[in-house]
């Protein structure tokens, strides 16, 4: 069984994230104020943390922009 040192990590649960295959798409979202307002922190070129409780609003925004993200439920 894998044992992790308890003081070496923090567990973030129920965290809304957006993952993109092409980092340029995330760049575009962050440059667009109307989309960026849902993004809280970029963790990597491909992954960003979203505002809790606003994933539905972001999904609507992404759909409006013509994107079709896969939505993975909790």
């Amino acid at each position: 069984m894998l044992m992790l040192e308890l003081d070496k990590y923090i567990l973030h649960e129920n965290l809304p994230l957006l993952e993109v295959a092409n980092p340029q798409e995330l760049d575009v979202f962050l440059a667009d104020a109307r989309t960026a307002r849902f993004i809280r922190r970029r963790l990597s070129p491909h992954v960003a943390v979203l505002a809790p409780g606003q994933d539905a609003a972001l999904l609507a925004r992404l759909r409006k922009l013509g994107h079709t993200p896969k939505v993975l439920e909790r």
């Binding site: 923090i10 809304p16 994230l17 798409e25 963790l43 992954v47 994933d55």
Partner: protein, 741 residues
């Protein structure tokens, strides 16, 4: 929908000894038993499945039919309606004495036998007045009896002569009927229900919207040339009475089943539930609003039930048609003496006291002729309308036409399946998939309704948009939106391609395959996790070591791992953040908008939230400004979000009110203040103050009272006022007395 408890136990104790004596006979009771003994015998019998089965073997055909009908109706029914259905079945023997052979007599016999009870709380062994269907109570049977009812109601076949084929016929395929019904469900679903008025009727505006959504432009659209009055109203109520919709607390009629789920049922199951609903939808009539005056609503339900019984009783005749006129005559023959659409009470036979048998016979014949003449005016038009509206629309009957007028009819295969239990060659769940459509390069699918199975219809409804439907064909269109929606609901690209190809019977156009693959691939390129689990390590070395040691997940950035499965030993997490719960309060906020973050690493979102609403000053300090707040609002945020967020993260009790007012003002709330240099007169003595402000001489020097001891003075008249006050002997100080808060 059941309104009574279907167990006799609650009611038996209210029965009299003589009633219990009769009821106990079916359980082996006799006249010698006392009331309490008969009561115990009945209760024991009902509780014992072996006794129930034995009792059932002692029932007559009429009694068996009654139980089978009640089982179909959910265990309870209006007593007059049940009597009419039994008469329609042909199981009620001709009456020796017409005066005693009213509807309640038929049912009372069943009550006396212990098979039914009435809903009269004070006397469940009685049915009340016999001649008024308006007054007739509900009757019900015990669920323990119904559990052993495995047969269908016996219906004596009608003696109707098959006709030669008519010049023209109208028939709706089950798939066409199913498509339309699914369309109605989707229409109601897309409108989020149909509103009801205070009186419980459908809101006219919502009915109009549904008509528009379904392409029913007129109040009485036609289906294959046949008028169907107020179809939106008809379906709304039929769905309600069938349990496929319900009334929400806010007085809106909403679906209880998703259109996709309804579409997955076989054609027979779909129609069966709706048939029941139409039977009881007395809020709608077959011949339109303008002819509603004068008829008895409850008798309408009875008439529909009787008609279904008669259609069930049609003789087996293959594809032959029967005359509508003959059906009407059979209808009258079975129930005409006991039923009228327009009367609350059964037709009354002539009073023949003191007449000879020959005279009685002549009077009865004349009475029957009179009834028949009235029937031809009142009930016959309704019968024709019923055949041409809901029965045709649901695909139960086909019509034989002569010069555009229906003159004959027959049950369709679907009708025979639903009403007579016949085997149906198509349209059952699990039918072998067959070639049913052509997929065109423009992404449209041309569907042949004769060949499409229910499963294929469900597939189309889930993966494409229906753009049109006619008697034999329907058109659907594939689009990125429909494919995306289907994939989001669990479909797969492989299934989509395979089903389209199988239904087409030929390879799909290449561009269609390419387009579907591209749409599916586009979805894979972006993922929105609604609730991911992320481990944040102190540094990259510890993160990488954990992955090396077997931690299952994907590395993100330098310190994170997006977990693929549950964290090992989930109980031991001393440090964690759950973003589905309220996050830590970690901010201090001052009146001038300075926000300090007390713990920078409290979670992954706080700094992003601060950057959205405020300007960063240093590593732990931000300031809310008009510019920063307005920028967030221009990006689509709402000021309520900022206020809620601050209040949720603020460590104090209350957000500074002045800052709150500033935020609202930046958001556009009108906040008017006035600042000016003024001269005021203050006098703490009420009488003197009143004398000054009330003085005709001094009033002209004053501008307005600000407080009970404060009045605004015209700046140009200050010295004049001072002179008056000095003349009056008042002390005039140059400073005000102010109480500090």
């Amino acid at each position: 929908m059941a309104t009574l408890i279907h167990r006799f136990d609650h009611y038996l104790e209210r029965l009299r000894a003589d009633q219990l004596k009769k009821m106990a006979r079916v359980w082996g009771g006799s006249n010698k038993l006392r009331k309490d003994e008969n009561l115990a015998l009945i209760q024991r019998g009902l509780d014992d499945p072996v006794e129930v089965r034995a009792a059932i073997t002692r029932l007559s055909d009429l009694e068996c039919t009654a139980l089978a009908l009640l089982k179909q109706l959910g265990g309870e029914c209006n007593s007059s309606a049940l009597a009419m259905a039994l008469r329609a079945s042909g199981c009620v023997p001709p009456a020796k004495n017409r005066y005693r052979a009213d509807n309640s007599a038929v049912i009372q016999d069943l009550v006396d036998r212990g098979l039914l009870l009435s809903g009269y709380a004070y006397d469940p062994g009685s049915l009340g007045s016999s001649y008024s269907s308006y007054m007739s109570p509900l009757v019900f049977t015990d669920d323990r009896l119904l559990a052993h009812v495995t047969w269908s109601p016996e219906v004596k076949p009608l003696r109707l002569k098959p006709l030669s084929p008519p010049p023209a016929t109208l028939e709706r395929r089950p798939s066409a009927a199913a498509l339309d019904v699914i369309g109605v469900l989707q229409g109601i679903d897309s409108l989020d229900g149909i509103g009801l008025t205070q009186k419980g009727t459908l809101r006219v505006s919502d009915v109009r919207k549904l008509n528009l959504a379904l392409g029913w432009d007129k109040r009485a659209p036609t289906v294959n040339g046949l008028v169907f009055p107020e179809p939106a109203t008809a379906f709304a109520y039929a769905l309600f009475h069938s349990g496929l919709s319900k009334i929400r607390d806010d007085h809106v009629l909403v679906l209880t089943t998703a259109p996709e789920h309804f579409a997955s049922l076989s054609y027979g199951e779909q129609v069966q539930s709706l048939l029941y609903g139409f039977t009881h939808a007395t809020e709608w009539t077959e011949w339109g609003e303008e002819y509603r005056m004068g008829y008895n609503t409850s008798n309408l339900s009875m008439a529909r039930m009787v008609l279904l019984m008669l259609l069930t009783a049609l003789p087996e005749a293959g594809e032959s048609f029967f005359s509508i006129e003959a059906l009407d005559a059979a209808f009258f023959e079975r129930v005409g003496e006991y039923f009228s659409l327009y009367s609350y009470s059964s037709p009354q036979p002539p009073y023949w006291y003191g007449k000879t048998p020959a005279e009685q016979e002549r009077m009865m014949q004349e009475w029957r002729q009179k009834l028949r003449a009235q029937w031809l005016i009142q009930e016959t038009p309704w019968l024709k309308a019923a055949l041409m509206t809901w029965l045709y629309y649901l695909g139960i009957v086909a019509l034989g036409m002569d010069n555009g007028t229906p003159v004959s009819f027959r049950l369709t295969e679907l009708g025979r399946s639903v009403l007579q239990g016949a085997h149906m060659s198509t349209g059952r769940a699990g039918d072998e998939v067959q070639t049913a459509w052509i997929v065109q390069p423009n992404l449209e699918i041309l569907v042949y309704l004769e060949h499409v199975t229910p499963e294929q219809l469900v597939f189309l409804e889930q993966h494409a948009t229906r753009v049109g439907a006619q008697q034999h064909t329907a058109q659907y269109r594939l689009s990125q939106e429909t494919v995306y929606a289907a994939l989001e609901k669990g479909s797969t690209l492989e299934r989509m391609l395979a089903t389209l190809q199988t239904g087409s019977g030929a390879p799909l156009p290449q561009n269609v395959t390419v387009e579907l693959r591209e749409w599916a691939a586009r979805r894979e390129r972006m993922t929105l996790y609604q609730g991911a689990r992320l481990l944040e390590f102190t540094d990259a070395a510890h993160r990488d070591a954990a992955l090396e040691a077997g931690l299952r997940g994907a590395p993100v950035g330098e310190q994170f791992v997006l977990l693929a499965s549950a964290v090992p030993d989930p109980a031991a997490h001393p440090r964690g953040v759950n973003y589905a719960k309220p996050l830590s309060r970690c901010l201090t906020v001052t009146e001038d908008g300075m926000v300090t973050l007390l713990r920078p690493d409290v979670d992954l979102v706080i700094e992003g939230e601060l950057d959205l609403w405020a300007e960063r000053r240093d590593a732990t300090t931000w300031q809310l400004t008009s510019d920063s707040v307005c920028a967030a609002l221009r990006a689509g945020a709402r000021i309520e979000e900022a206020l809620n967020w601050l209040e949720a993260r603020f460590t104090g009790l209350l957000l500074p009110p002045f800052l709150r007012a500033a935020l609202l003002a930046w958001a556009g709330a009108v906040t008017q203040t006035h600042l000016a240099e003024v001269v005021v007169l203050q006098c703490g003595q009420r009488e003197v103050f009143d004398a000054i402000v009330g003085s005709p001489t001094l009033r002209s020097l004053l501008c307005g009272v600000l407080a009970p001891d404060l009045v605004l003075v015209n700046p140009a008249a200050v010295e004049t006022l001072r002179a008056h006050l000095v003349w009056a002997g008042f002390d005039v100080a140059d400073e005000l007395k102010v109480k500090r808060r």
